[in-house]
């Protein structure tokens, strides 16, 4: 049996990037190193592993500006077969609803048994797009997956829950979101990198998808971004160990009010 897999990915800031707001109060992407959202990397890796095991095809899909091509190329270099980028000036300001609407349109046109995505994007951390997509497509979804076994027509997945795990049998097609621990993503090999540019990377506009920007106006408006207050310096509690510990406990209770 072959398993056709669609992996939805997002390009995010590098985890070490310094967030700066521009004059208009927007997050400034200039000069920032971009990466594939680490949770989406788990999804890509899992997709490739399932393909290697069962055959089939892995298609990576993303929405973003032209720089997003880098992320898709990297996924192709890792071993994905095809990539689709939806890039349109009208999609400059989007929310989770908009992205899910667009992805629904793209994915509906593909043959899939399984849709994979990261459980959360490390930038806005909303964890919404993938589950909205499943809802729109009318297929079941399981979040925070740590293990996936695919059998004929169904998948058995282990997901993380508070303080333990849950084993779920789910019919295909379905959507699963990857949690850290699902796998260890591979580095793209040199040969993979060289082959990636020969693989198909389709770039689509809203027009190509028969969609109108007016129908996709974000339902959520971001009023303002603000940076976290800078960390205050630490405080030393002097004195011998026993007295210092007593003083520390007092400070934690009376000043910090955490005890």
């Amino acid at each position: 049996m072959g398993v056709n897999i669609v992996v939805c990915i997002k390009q995010t800031f590098d985890t070490e990037a310094k967030i700066v707001l521009d004059n208009n109060g927007q997050i400034d992407p200039n000069g920032v190193n971009m990466i594939i959202n680490p949770y989406d990397e788990f999804a890509i890796e899992e997709g490739i592993r399932l393909k290697e095991k069962f055959g089939g095809e892995v298609t990576v899909v993303s929405l973003g500006g032209s720089r997003t091509q880098e992320a898709l190329r990297t996924a192709l270099a890792m071993g994905a077969d095809k990539a689709i980028l939806v890039s349109d000036a009208a999609l400059d300001r989007v929310d989770e609803w908009t992205v899910a609407e667009v992805l629904t349109k793209v994915v509906s046109g593909l043959a899939y048994d399984l849709i994979l995505a990261g459980r959360i994007a490390i930038d806005d951390g909303s964890s919404q797009v993938a589950v909205r997509l499943a809802e729109n497509l009318g297929i079941p979804s399981v979040s925070s997956v740590l293990k996936i076994e695919v059998n004929e027509g169904e998948a058995t997945v282990m997901r993380e829950i508070d303080g333990g795990t849950e084993l779920i049998a789910v019919n295909l097609p379905c959507l699963l979101t990857a949690q850290k621990g699902l796998n260890e993503p591979r580095y793209p090999s040199v040969a993979g990198i060289m082959k990636a540019k020969k693989k198909e990377l389709k770039s689509l506009t809203l027009q190509d998808l028969n969609m109108n920007a007016e129908d996709l106006v974000a339902k959520m408006q971001i009023a303002r971004y603000s940076l976290p207050t800078p960390r205050q310096g630490g405080r030393k509690v002097p004195g011998d160990a026993a007295a210092a510990a007593r003083e520390l406990a007092r400070l934690l209770r009376e000043e910090a009010k955490v005890l």
Partner: protein, 380 residues
């Protein structure tokens, strides 16, 4: 003239940098301390295709170019120069001469396991009396039936003992000087081929460096590389290309030390402000960054000539000489900027400074590079 790297090169740099950060960084200090060869790292980098990165697919390589190779050595050396030189010595000094001078049978036999990294390669030219001057070669070879018998020893051999395949030189007729030297492919385990003492080095301490000992080693004639008497030429051509690897290694060391110094200068507070606010440090950082950029252009230029199959000797010598000199300078200044902490093993710049020194010495001392460069200039 276009200074941008291709999309492939950028992706390779990202991949190798990522690999070096995640797989090499954490253990670098300990390997430096214990002198343990980075075998596990080698196996992983081989899986990614780095062992045969610039060699054709038909011989097990991945068919990338010299720039890709230099980027790989540079990025590995940025984090751990011992890993960088392991790859450089393997690819430049063993795989390359076999690829360039080997018969089809030799290439088919020896290259695939080397290019996939299943086997590691090494190169033996240096002897106690033959350093810069190869004509001092005392390792002898005599014809014996349909093969040869080799006797003697080689010193300071990078990757020795860990490597499986060795390209070595031996003197057939001392009266002929350099023209009496021949090159051979040896394999670990050949009767009489053993390893002598392990060198205790100042830097690149987890790179393996041993003496090779040949005691009546019988080598079949199929293992003669090139023709009899061609060994010196093979060695010189090998080094012409090999210097690209050392130049890239030096460049990586310099880059690593510069980044560490830059980060430290922004964080370290003295006299109430980060030391990066002091002009003397600003100027040092400016000089470091400029020298590194200049070295990088020389290294990639040498790669470009190699990829274009144009004469590379002058350019690789310039790149090696310049990159190693600035690596020594940048690492020394980085240690200085770290002050007392820089002199301790708590920070990597101390190791980088020790690692940098060898790049001015091996694969031709920088004095010999000047001989190579001036020789080329005066011939033009």
């Amino acid at each position: 003239m276009i200074f941008d790297l291709t999309e492939d090169h950028l992706m390779m740099r990202k991949m190798v940098r990522d690999f070096a950060e995640k797989e090499c960084r954490a253990g670098a200090e300990e390997r430096d301390e214990t002198e343990e060869f980075p075998r596990e790292i080698w196996n992983k980098l081989a899986e990614l295709g780095l062992a045969g990165i610039s060699f054709p697919e038909e011989y097990g390589g991945v068919g990338a170019d010299y720039i890709a190779y230099a980027i790989a050595v540079e990025e590995l050396s940025r984090v751990d120069a011992s890993v960088g030189v392991t790859l450089s010595a393997h690819a430049s000094l063993c795989v390359n001469p076999i690829y360039k001078f080997g018969t089809e049978a030799q290439k088919t036999k020896f290259l695939p396991p080397l290019c996939t990294g299943e086997k590691i390669g090494a190169f033996g030219l240096t002897e106690p009396l033959a350093g810069s001057d190869a004509s001092g070669t005392r390792t002898t070879v005599v014809r014996d039936g349909d093969g040869y018998i080799i006797n003697g020893s080689k010193i300071f051999i990078t990757n020795a003992k860990e490597a499986d395949t060795y390209v070595i030189t031996a003197q057939m007729d001392r009266n002929k000087g350099n023209k009496g030297i021949s090159a051979f492919i040896l394999e670990k385990g050949m009767p009489g081929f053993t390893f002598g003492k392990k060198e205790k080095k100042m830097g690149i301490r987890s790179s393996a460096t041993y003496e090779l000992v040949f005691d009546n080693v019988r080598v079949p004639k199929e293992n003669l590389l090139g023709e009899e008497g061609q060994g010196f030429k093979i060695a010189m051509v090998t080094l012409d290309y090999g210097r690209i690897g050392i130049a890239a290694q030096a460049l990586g060391i310099a880059q690593g030390a510069y980044e560490a110094a830059l980060k430290y200068a922004k964080e370290r507070v003295q006299f109430g402000q980060p030391i990066a606010k002091f002009q003397i440090n600003q100027f040092k950082l400016a000089d470091m960054a400029t020298q590194i950029e200049a070295a990088r252009l020389l290294v990639y230029q040498a790669c470009y000539y190699a990829d274009q199959h144009r004469p590379v000797g002058k350019y690789s010598a310039m790149a090696k000489m310049f990159a190693s000199d600035i690596a020594m300078w940048v690492t020394t200044e980085a240690v200085q900027m770290f002050g007392g902490y820089g002199y301790t093993r708590e920070y990597p710049v101390e190791r980088m400074m020790r690692d940098a020194k060898i790049t001015q010495i091996y694969e031709g001392t920088n004095e010999i590079q000047r001989v190579v460069i001036s020789g080329n200039i005066l011939k033009e």
